[in-house]
Symmetry: C2
Subunit: 247 residues, 2 copies
Amino acid sequence: MAILSVELSINEKLYHRNPQRTELGRNILRHSILLLDELGLEGFNFRKLAERIGSTEASIYRYFENKQLLLVYLANWYWEWMRFRIDMKTMHISAPKEKLRVAISCIVDTAKRNTHIEFIDEDVLHRIVVAEGAKAYHNKEVDAQNKEGFFLSYKALCNRIANIILENNPSFPYPRALASSLLEMANNHIYFAEHLPRLTEVREAGDKLKQVEELLSYFAWRLVFPQVNGPEQELSPLPGSEDGQPN
Amino acid sequence: MAILSVELSINEKLYHRNPQRTELGRNILRHSILLLDELGLEGFNFRKLAERIGSTEASIYRYFENKQLLLVYLANWYWEWMRFRIDMKTMHISAPKEKLRVAISCIVDTAKRNTHIEFIDEDVLHRIVVAEGAKAYHNKEVDAQNKEGFFLSYKALCNRIANIILENNPSFPYPRALASSLLEMANNHIYFAEHLPRLTEVREAGDKLKQVEELLSYFAWRLVFPQVNGPEQELSPLPGSEDGQPN
DNA sequence: GAAAATATGATAGTTTTGCTATCATATTTA
DNA sequence: TAAATATGATAGCAAAACTATCATATTTTC
């Protein structure tokens, strides 16, 4: 379990002052993650965050223009981190199928990290991305923000996964669409299992992340290799258990 | 082109006063859709809406508790409307494949309506659902709101589609997950094509909705009928055109 | 058709959010 | 040691997110 001191590179236009470089900045990152998790984006604001870390609103505004951009920053951090993990874990693999399997396990975040970054709680950040991530790009400023490169990390991540898909099937017609759909599905089904279980077969009980991984594998395999049935081992990931849940 | 005067039934807990029943209520619905489309959820508020329709903030609060619940109301309206369309258009069909094809065309909203409701601009509402729909359930109150039944329409819709999937393949292990994923994918890929085109193969040019329909069909067919290739006609919906778009 | 109930508008006010400005002081860097 | 930079303290403002009250329509009911 190494301590990663390498700074992830995040688009500089996302902040006024680089939060990874100062004590206050790292405090803002650490506690914004915790507070966003507690309150949700709508309940969260810079005043509460300042209070929590014993600083002032004005100081926080010196780092981030507003909470939406802080969210975009955190999302970028997550996307960069996921791409880094995928690269790390697929680098030495040559078999395309195994690469795809590993990528999917990174997407659902089951590929347990052997690295930690002191000021980012990755599990809590994962929850935030699951619950609030889509809000990073669902707003009226998307086009302007996209022009500034705020979503380059997401696109690079998507592209990385799309390439692995193409390595498996060079004539697959929708590599990017499948990649982005796998990314979105991972978040959605984790969220649905917890809050709107009627929208998915993934169950809160047991290892939810493992189930999501199986779901994504099932989809990816059937789509990318139309005649085959699954990532070597399983044929039908989930027994069609009659659900007893009412919600 | 009939005028539908039937009131869609929306969970009564979503409003204080039924907006479909009064002139002001219908004005709120009509103009909230237009204004949400213009400003996005974050830029939208009841003051601006009141100004737009020549009423007052207080009057609008007599109908809806806040803008988030108004959004949930509109989303419910959309879900109910989609389910109604699917039922209408599949009712007389007995072939499961054809049912699924029709359902998908309803999901992406290409199944052009032959009905209109005077105070709802369905095309604009569709844009709102695409851009803001996910915010209806991504908030800290989901669990409480779910308990109140605010998402019953979405679940019923998802269930409807899941049943059509099962009619096509009774042993398909993820009918609900596929149904909700198709619903989410429809919105996402329309949005991506417009704002983040690197995340999808769907192109802004040409008939975007038709392309999304082909994408969803491709996915659904490969998943539900693993040996077959598409909804009768096409084998490979999109030629792998090298993309010249930079975003 | 009068009385009662209900809906709207007008106005005002409260609290919270989102954000900017200024100044003093601490800390770092040159 | 001087200069630059970062933070904290404080203040303030405009807008958002409501709530309350009262007068006047309008509708409903008896």
